[in-house]
């Protein structure tokens, strides 16, 4: 088991290690670059004053909540003065002059950034294979076929691999349809997607605005609570940022529940799944039943519509969100004879296949004559999916599902988009509903690969969701 944030902080406070030594340990791993989990590793020189400031605060006995903690940041967060590419050619030379709201909170709390994690291009993908900087390799190997390189999941694949390989203590990811939870599951770590509206989207390269949400990928549930405490704040510059009262997510995390907890398991999610996956649900059920938690069957009415709804709405928003990458003001420009040629060349050469595909799908579903049949209809179905979740969450406190329908697969294995999209079948409905979901490691597959389960809670109930996940984690933890 890797060291948790609280263990690291204890070591720093007790001077068993210095901030610089800690940083160098993680930096060395990040620099080795075996799994291609970083698009950019920040020079030590650029962090030296942060390291010294942090050490001073420890020496003075007043460290900040994340003081000295080395973090990875998905290359989708704009970081001031540090190249931010969204793993796309079109932004491969882009250096923002501003810091995203979320990463600013992490800096304010004393953390130190190791670098920018690789991810799928514009966060579009479930295997981290669409990155302009090449695929990320999952640190885990199939014990029956050790030589194969496996995908880490996506789109926050670099973040998940970096945490799993130990090149950062935690990483900031983003989740639009499962991009935190799915790679966390495939890399054997914890991934939390907070309620939509919890963490500001300001300064995050947008994919699908009504779905995008920042969240942590960590080694343990408690670490997720540490990061969430830092990043979960109202932001006036994001109109969709909720101004509800935030809680301290650490305070009760190791306490048992005072009231009786009921968890629903959607039977329709478990049709046609492998034994590996069924085992995860069974393990979790057994582990939590010991704590007096009750499990009931629930059934969604809308599950079969979720993926198609998602693959209309997310591309629609993406097609518009990505219009600004035109080679005119920043990013890579490919010249041409006319203005239209500049657009055509810059965008054709600047975007990869998956991004191009989604822009085309998005433009299609929004175009005159198709809008009502696709976009408007999908919005209505999204409303029904929300209502469906609400109905079930009126009966139970949480929902338990697998995080993914399968273990990590070989790089290059899933070539057709539809089978790739199906990887997010358990995470997409939650995203459409805007609900919080957390994936925790729940066991190993027959091939010795990590798998995870997902807990879904009600809106803005991250505190009890983390509490439940921490409880399950104690029973389910596995060693590498």
């Amino acid at each position: 088991m890797k060291n948790s944030i609280s263990q690291i902080k204890k070591a720093l406070i007790e001077k068993k290690i210095s901030v610089g030594e800690l940083y160098d340990e993680y930096l060395a791993k990040a620099k080795s670059g075996n799994n291609n989990s970083f698009n950019l590793v920040i020079d030590r020189d650029n962090n030296i004053s942060s390291i010294n400031d942090s050490q001073n605060r420890y020496d003075n006995g007043n460290p900040l909540p994340l003081d000295g903690i080395p973090l990875g940041i998905k290359d989708l967060f704009c970081t001031k003065g540090i190249r931010t590419t969204a793993s796309s050619k079109i932004l491969s030379n882009f250096i923002p002059n501003y810091e995203s709201f979320v990463t600013q909170q992490l800096l304010n709390d004393g953390s130190i950034f190791i670098g920018k994690n690789n991810c799928d291009e514009f966060a579009m993908g479930s295997s981290n294979e669409t990155s302009y900087f090449g695929p990320v390799i999952n640190p885990w190997k199939n014990k029956n076929s050790q030589k194969d390189n496996l995908v880490p999941g996506g789109s926050s694949g670099g973040s998940a691999a970096a945490v799993a390989e130990g090149s950062c203590v935690a990483s900031m990811g983003t989740d639009t349809g499962g991009s935190i939870r799915q790679p966390a599951s495939l890399c054997g770590i914890v991934g939390l997607k907070p309620t939509f509206g919890s963490c500001s989207r300001w300064g995050i390269v947008a994919f699908a605005s009504s779905l995008d949400q920042a969240g942590p990928l960590t080694n343990c549930v408690e670490d997720a609570a540490y990061v969430l405490n830092s990043i979960n704040k109202h932001d006036f510059n994001d109109s969709t940022s909720s101004n509800h009262q935030r809680e301290d997510y650490l305070v009760d995390i190791n306490n048992s529940f005072e009231k009786k907890i009921k968890i629903g398991i959607p039977s329709d999610y478990l049709e046609d799944v492998s034994d590996d996956i069924l085992n995860q649900i069974d393990n979790t059920k057994k582990a939590l039943s010991k704590h007096g938690i009750e499990f009931v069957d629930v059934k969604f009415k809308t599950t079969e519509y979720a993926l198609s709804t998602y693959y209309i709405l997310a591309p629609a928003e993406a097609s518009s969100n990505l219009a600004r990458y035109d080679g005119i003001r920043y990013g890579v420009r490919e010249d041409g004879e006319s203005l239209d040629d500049i657009y055509l060349n810059s965008r054709t050469k600047g975007f990869g296949d998956e991004v191009t595909r989604r822009i085309l799908i998005g433009a299609y579903v929004l175009s005159a004559g198709y809008y009502d049949a696709y976009y408007r209809q999908a919005q209505k179905v999204r409303r029904l999916i929300k209502n469906d979740f609400q109905r079930i969450l009126n009966e139970v406190d949480f929902i338990l599902t697998p995080t993914t329908p399968n273990e990590a697969f070989k790089i290059g294995d899933k070539l057709d988009p539809i089978s790739m999209y199906k990887n997010d079948i358990y995470t997409v409905p939650t995203s459409l509903a805007g609900l919080p979901g957390i994936s925790i490691p729940s066991g190993l597959s027959k091939n010795g690969l990590p798998l995870g389960v997902q807990f879904i809670g009600n809106y803005f109930e991250e505190k009890s969701l983390l509490q439940l996940a921490a409880l399950a984690e104690k029973e389910l933890s596995f060693n590498e």
Binding site: F94, R201, F236, N237, T240, A323, R324, Y343, L366, S367
Partner: protein, 478 residues
């Protein structure tokens, strides 16, 4: 030729709102800055930047709603209008489409002696785009993003207009109202008010023809020229056996002609959809009601007040209400002095406006001179100086050359109202005028004027004519 043809016109008027910052960003909303000076990360479409609605724009839209008799919608939605152009950094314009903030309004315009009601379908808030400048360099175009994101209210009329004059009347009335409620500066030259003209022609009584849209007209002169040219162009096509194509036209100000910019088959599919970065605008009745008192007096209210309370002539009242700054100046003078409003009004639309026009001034620029002006008018109406002397002093007062009473003394223009002194003058004037005196007594009134003139001349124009008149009559009737 065009006798039995009529034109049918609907207008889209874009009014730039007078907010201090832009519709969705905190950059200053001002004209005339250096290129790309008023541009922040949001305006320039940087990755991850998000719009935040400026509620001041909503308040201005609500005010407009009251002034133009609109339904003010509690629910409105900002959508994205998607198209590529270098002066549109986000790749989309945020605008209201399916759910505008205002719907079904109207204004009345004057057509000859009658009033005509022009119905307005809707008005919605949207962002302006930047400016592309193509004439600096033969090879490159230049982009100025200062205007990106400035708030516009697009006011869309029904096709209720049927002549260039009506169109100009309609736009003038809109402009007047928007300036009155302080939501738009009305400066057409700077593009604060621009119009797209949708025009079709038909034989009287027949069904509507195919329309063409002439884009982006920003002066009354061009609007009139464009309409007249386009009217004739369409008639000529139909008379020649052709058909009108639904085109978007540009008006060439150098030739006075319209030409097609793009035809319908190349028209954009803007792929509107609700902007997921913004929440729908949901207003409470309370929020809407709160704005009502801010609307203030509208031109028609003032017109009625001027006639009823101040007994102004209609024509004079109309001139004063034409622009809010006129009315403001007028009302300021009334509130600061006891000179009769009617007397003030006559001087305002006469010599004062003439002075403003001659010197190319803004009416506003006299706001700090009202006390001096009314002091001067007081001297005139109290007969301390003559009307003629008043006209002489006025420009000096308006130029700030001195206080009226000082100027009167300095220039020696004070009227002689001492009756003893005037009696002497009159007695001298009547010497040797026995013949004329007899004429007067015989009933010739004209002689009186002759004598007054003679006395005034003797006082070098400073004699109080009323007093001279009075004393003369007493003398002559003896």
């Amino acid at each position: 030729m065009s006798n039995n043809w009529e034109m049918v016109i609907g207008l889209e008027v874009h009014a730039q709102l007078k907010t201090s910052s832009k519709l969705f960003s905190s950059s200053p909303n001002q004209f005339g800055s250096d290129p790309n000076e008023n541009v922040n990360f949001i305006d320039s479409g940087m990755p991850g930047m998000l719009p935040v609605m400026n509620f001041g724009c909503i308040e201005m839209a609500i005010k407009t709603g009251y002034a133009l008799n609109f339904n003010i919608n509690k629910h409105s939605v900002f959508e994205r209008k998607n198209y590529f152009y270098p002066d549109l950094p986000q790749g989309y314009q945020i605008s209201q489409f399916e759910f505008p903030i205002l719907s079904e309004g109207y204004i009345n315009i004057e057509t000859g002696d009658n009033q005509k009601k022009i119905r307005i379908e809707r008005a919605h808030l949207e962002q302006d785009a930047g400016k592309s400048i193509h004439d600096i360099d033969p090879k490159y175009s230049f982009i100025d993003l200062n205007r990106v994101g400035t708030p516009l209210l697009e006011i869309v009329s029904y096709p209720d207009l049927s002549s260039a004059d009506e169109v100009i009347n309609y736009i003038s009335s809109l402009r007047q109202l928007l300036m009155y409620i302080d939501v738009c500066d009305g400066n057409m030259q700077e593009g604060s008010l621009r119009a797209d003209v949708n025009l079709s022609v038909r034989k009287k009584g027949q069904e509507l023809g195919t329309r063409c849209e002439i884009k982006n007209l920003n002066s009354f002169k061009f609007i009139k020229q464009a309409i007249e040219y386009e009217f004739q162009r369409q008639i000529n096509i139909i008379d020649g056996g052709g058909e009108i194509e639904q085109n978007t036209m540009l008006f060439d100000t150098s030739t006075g002609e319209t030409r097609a910019m793009r035809s319908k088959e190349f028209s954009h599919d803007y792929r509107y959809f609700p902007d997921p970065d913004l929440l729908p605008v949901n207003l409470s009745q309370e929020q809407i009601d709160k704005i009502k008192p801010l609307v203030g007096e509208l031109p028609q209210d003032k017109f009625n007040k001027y006639l009823d309370n101040y007994s102004l002539d209609k024509d004079i009242a109309k001139i004063i209400i034409a622009e809010k700054q006129n009315a403001n100046l007028f009302e300021k003078m009334i509130s600061e002095s006891t000179v009769k409003p009617k007397f003030i009004a006559a001087w305002l639309v006469g010599d004062i406006f003439a002075f403003i026009k001659e010197n190319n001034l803004e009416v506003n620029s006299l706001n700090d001179k009202t006390k001096d002006i009314t002091d001067l008018l007081r001297l005139i109406s109290d007969d301390v100086i003559s009307n003629k002397a008043g006209k002489e002093i006025l420009p000096k007062v308006l130029n700030g050359e001195g206080k009226p009473s000082e100027l009167v003394k300095e220039l020696g223009l004070e009227q002689v109202s001492d009756s003893g002194e005037l009696e002497k003058v009159i007695d001298e004037a009547l010497v040797g005028e026995e013949e004329n005196i007899l004429k007067f007594q015989g009933g010739s009134d004209r002689v009186l004027g002759y004598f007054v003139g003679k006395c005034l001349k003797a006082t070098k124009g400073k004699g109080n004519p009323k007093l001279i008149n009075k004393i003369l009559l007493e003398r002559l009737k003896k």
